[in-house]
């Protein structure tokens, strides 16, 4: 019942792209500009290249057991109890991130578009459509992503087109002033948000994609497209707003949309551009939420994950109001604990799996192929 959903490689590519863009589009430029100043866009390029290695690691893992999700893979490789324990951590992480993204969408709407609406109602509204999406299943999510990606790229194209007259190249000069050390150091948050967290895609990546050989390729291509979008946004933020303003803004790319002014006629279209962020955020949150719901169902060996969606959505909506008391706490937490949480689940755990798999290879191959 859970495994029947099939998505095409193209749909998978789109989901990867939207997942990569997700929150990064809103928050990454300011985080990068805080440390690397006007070289933020170089950091984004370096980060994307390093991120490809991480994606390669995920593809490697996915090859071994193409008919298992990440949770089942853990159990297969690490044994029943250790595997379940590790999977629990994984599910916990994706659930925390699902609620934190609900918080992001809530604060974003609350500070910029709907200041008089209480945040609780915004989060609940977002939670309701996410619950609906997951309830309808992966195929529906993938198909709607296929439609929304067009809207996304049309809006993106117009944003880039309209903002390009404002680009001041003085803002990015002198190029590469930050030095190699700073560049490498400040790539970590970028890698975390874009590629390390993509481990949750392993919940449906080898299993539910119809053409498995092509799927790895679309993982890479989707990631590269998403990365390019973020690089463009970072470059535009720094070159239009300047490094200092980019770092000072919480949502610099929204500020970017406010600066659009074509012949004193087309201006203040940022509310339209907010559609970009809502689309990307929605799909990223949905993927996190789907991964955590399916993960819990598979850890407990349930037949169907659907009954768990609504109660978990309720918990996520409450958590989204509680987990970050304010934006300062959020940024501080992301820079200290969040990075380590993501890296331990998204890099350390796969490496551990690789090591254990190398040791237990013969034994695992003998085991009968069970789903």
């Amino acid at each position: 019942m859970m495994q029947n959903a099939k998505i095409s490689t193209y749909q998978f590519l789109i989901l990867v792209t939207l997942f990569t863009i997700g929150t990064s589009i809103l928050i990454v430029p300011s985080g990068l500009a805080a440390k690397a100043k006007h070289d933020a866009w170089i950091v984004a390029i370096v980060g994307m290249v390093i991120g490809l290695v991480v994606i390669g690691l995920f593809c490697l893992i996915a090859q071994w057991f193409p008919h298992l999700t990440f949770i089942q893979m853990n159990e297969m490789i690490l044994g029943k109890w250790l595997g379940k324990g590790v999977s629990l951590l994984f599910v916990f992480m994706s659930f925390i991130y699902a609620s934190s993204l609900l918080f992001y969408s809530g604060t974003f709407l609350n500070t910029h578009l709907l200041p008089n609406t209480p945040m609780a109602s915004l989060n609940i509204l977002m939670a309701i459509i996410i619950v609906m999406g997951v309830h309808l299943g992966l195929e529906t999510i993938a198909r709607s992503a296929e439609i929304f990606i067009l809207v996304f790229f049309v809006l993106f194209f117009f944003l880039v087109l309209f903002i390009s007259p404002e680009v001041k190249f003085e803002n990015v000069q002198p190029i590469f002033e930050a030095g190699t050390k700073t560049v490498i150091q400040s790539t970590f948050p970028f890698i975390e948000v874009t590629s390390v967290n993509a481990i949750v895609l392993l919940m449906f990546f080898p299993v539910n994609v119809n053409n498995r050989k092509q799927a790895s390729k679309s993982f890479f291509i989707g990631y590269i497209i998403g990365g390019i979008v973020i690089i463009i946004f970072t470059f535009l933020s720094v070159s239009v707003l300047g490094a200092y303003s980019t770092a000072a803004e919480v949502f610099p790319s929204y500020e970017l949309a406010k600066r659009i002014n074509i012949g004193d006629f087309i201006q203040r279209i940022e509310a339209l551009m907010a559609g970009l962020w809502i689309i990307a955020l929605y799909f990223k949150t949905t993927i996190y939420f789907y991964a955590s719901v399916l993960g819990i169902a598979q850890i407990l060996n349930l037949k169907d994950y659907r009954p768990l969606i609504v109660p978990l959505g309720m918990i996520a909506a409450v958590l989204s109001l509680v987990i970050y008391p304010n934006v300062v706490y959020q940024q501080n937490w992301n820079q200290t604990t969040g990075i380590f949480l993501s890296f331990s689940i998204g890099v350390f755990l796969p490496l551990l799996l690789v090591a254990v798999y190398a040791i237990r290879k013969k034994q695992l191959k003998k085991a009968p192929e069970s789903s």
Partner: protein, 74 residues
Amino acid sequence: MLKVIGILLIAAAILWKEVPPLLEKKDKKELVVFSILLTIGVGLSMALGLGKPIPNPLDFLTFVFKPIHDVFVR
């Protein structure tokens, strides 16, 4: 008080929608997990609605990852 009643009404609606198919299929395990999660959800929402403090899971994570963080960052 209004919030509590509202939350209970929503919980009732969820029960009314989700439970009959589970009983029909006799999925006991699903029913148990569903009830536990719904209880947690209702409990948390009520605590939030009544303005009671809810423990933040992120503080727990910070507690766990603080030693690792301190090792890496000087």
